[in-house]
Symmetry: C2
Subunit: 415 residues, 2 copies
């Protein structure tokens, strides 16, 4: 059962204008998978010629829809996306695989496409059989009702403990033609993406080949969805799919075959911006979150070492509870640097909360000002920066604080 949490105080104040992307139409409805009185199924219809790329959880126990998407991704083509909330169809064995097949059959019939052109994702409780026959009653109506502008409704239908729908959009230039990239995401808990996030779906009208899409997506995810953590728990269902309808070709956009095509420079920047925007929204809606925390590590031996240290800080329950308590407890940052397993020299370490340097060369900053540090901690958005003073490796990740509400939400999510 979804916990009835109030809107996150870190929610965006407004939603961006989300115009339709040519070749993509959405519909959402109530299939009654688990929730009552809210939408729980979303379908996106994709025009012929749509290419697709995807990244998925590295969990050794992935959900049935993740298995399905991985096998269907080889063709690089997609005609529809079906997503339900309320049940993750994970750890459901053969029953789960059968449910995915039945769902694909129902969706293919409703959309008038082939089963292998259907992509799927499910989110919600793990280990409960998913009754895919519930889709039978709603998908035909959804397919008939699909509209290009229904982004927010689509984002709402895939929410679980999320308190707000997550959308983002950007434009880019390819060979003098404007293309658009827009996406949706859901998050909230079990967020420590190792390859993607819980669920995110991004669409563009750019005419880009599946291999080029895949290359850009795999690269862009490192600094966005793979750089956030709510609770260090990696989901069985993480799925990020990027669909390109190619509709912009009719307006003169050149067809792009390879990721190293120079005409993709603007597109790559826009894709990274959309993914980072969605990833940040996932953190801002982290279960119980009251603070949005950036953790930047510089001066490490390598970028990989910097990221490992940054994640050690961002995943530390003691750092996260200190942030919740608005306590500039940099000793816990030292602890998290120390446990990360990467080289660190105590006497070269410097630590900042916001613009206040609290530690320098192995001890408390001689100019440390408790009042200034406390003022930083009272802000809703806090940057923690650590300089190791060793090399040029740098990384930034984002997390939220750990509050009593996180415990409350997760102490009674299922029951």
């Amino acid at each position: 059962m979804a916990h009835d949490a109030p809107l996150s105080p870190l929610a965006p104040k407004t939603f961006p204008d989300m115009p339709a992307i040519e070749g993509v139409r959405f519909a959402s409805g109530e299939a009654g998978v688990r929730y009552r009185g809210r939408t729980d199924v979303m379908m996106a219809l994709l025009d012929k010629g749509t290419t697709v790329a995807g990244v998925f959880t590295k969990s050794r126990c992935p959900s049935a829809p993740v298995d399905w998407c991985r096998s269907k991704l080889k063709s690089g083509k997609a005609r529809a996306l079906l997503v339900n909330s309320g049940n993750a169809n994970a750890f459901t064995g053969k029953v789960g695989a059968d449910a995915v097949k039945l769902a694909a059959k129902i969706a293919a019939r409703a959309a008038g496409v082939k089963e292998h052109e259907i992509f799927m994702a499910s989110t919600g409780v793990i280990g409960e059989p998913l009754d895919a026959s519930k889709f039978d009653a709603v998908l035909d109506a959804l397919a008939a009702d699909a509209r290009g502008e229904a982004w927010l409704d689509a984002a709402r239908a895939i929410m679980t403990t999320d308190t707000f729908p997550k959308v983002a959009t950007a434009t880019a230039d390819i060979g003098g033609s404007q293309v658009r990239i827009s996406g949706i995401a859901k998050g909230a808990g079990m967020i420590a993406p190792d390859m993607a996030t819980m669920l995110s779906f991004v669409f563009t009208d750019a005419p880009i080949s599946a291999p080029a899409l895949q290359s850009m997506l795999s690269k862009s995810v490192q600094g966005s969805f793979n750089a956030i953590t709510v609770d260090s728990d990696t989901s069985t269902s993480d799925t990020l799919l990027l669909f390109a309808t190619g509709a912009a070709a009719a307006r003169g956009a050149p067809r792009i075959a390879a990721a190293n095509d120079r005409r993709l420079a603007s597109f790559k920047r826009a894709l990274e911006a959309v993914l980072l925007d969605l990833a940040h929204q996932v953190v801002r809606d982290g279960e119980g979150a009251r603070k949005f925390v950036g953790v930047e590590v510089t001066g490490a031996d390598s970028a990989k070492a910097a990221k490992r240290i940054a994640l050690s800080i961002a995943n530390s329950p003691l750092v996260k509870t200190a942030v919740a308590g608005e306590d500039a407890n940099w000793g816990r940052v030292v602890m998290a640097v120390g446990k990360a397993g990467e080289r660190a020299e105590r006497d070269k370490l410097a630590i900042w909360f916001g613009d206040v340097r609290v530690a320098h060369k192995g001890l408390r900053d001689p100019n440390y000002d408790e009042a200034a540090a406390s003022a930083v901690m009272k802000r809703p958005e806090i940057d923690i920066r650590v300089d190791l003073g060793l090399g040029a490796g740098a990384a930034k990740v984002w997390t939220c604080d750990l509050t009593k509400e996180y415990v409350a939400i997760n102490g009674d999510y299922r029951s």
Copy 2:
């Protein structure tokens, strides 16, 4: 500031009888390091001939006392142990190293021994300079007052957020002579020992060489202190020291030089029992803990893989909040198995809560009984067992639940 938490509901009902160990005397007092109205310094005086072994945090930012102990351990000899609570003397740079030297000088004078025969540990806040001159006023009196039976007072003086003192004892037989092993520990938070725990000190009258002690200690710690976690945060100060006074030699116990001496069989078992007892008490006093949780993994590819999976489960905030909520949410156990990074086959996995099998061969157990599983979750002590069905690798670790009290305690520990 120590959080004024009520006694852990998982505290032992009684303390064991802790007779003196010949060659060891304790005293504790108030040095006023940080706390008021409670003891915060403990000294153990050790007779001539005492050997010593130690294991320490793997943190890359260890405390100044850890640096000191590591360097002094080479001699294998000890004459006194000085421990303070309230300040960890960690991340204090040269000032911290100087404080350790001054403390050693004061302790050596009080105990009438050499400075390099002093071992030290500090626990409390990180990053604050420790004023070692405060020991000057109290250590002489402590040395004069030391008694062999003062185990509980010694254990109390090293507490921080602990709600009860931790002691354990056992006897063993060496070559027909009875020897005793007794120890104390402190824990509570920042508990994910990578080499030892926060602080634990174990004493025996057995006449055993330092290299043999070190070998046994390094081995025994793997299944005890290195198999517990409260919050996945590894301390900068983890220190476990084992002292052997050798006093039992006067009663006929043979002097043991090597760890592979067959006459050590009983001693090894007793040492493991004492370490495991103390480690369990640390978990039972985990910050905010209401449940004591054993996590056993069997059927893994190797013992190392089993332990990594067990720790992934034991450190998962979602598993720990589910336990706090008395929710038999085995889907989160699947998630934690999946994210551990070790081989797992969904369709071979079985999961138990207590004696209730909840999952079997990749899906919910056909005989799953929600009422029976819920009854298990209401107990104060819960065993979670996972069988991977792959190999013979097995491991067991222990943890506690994650409660709102953990967040409360750590949201205002320092301020």
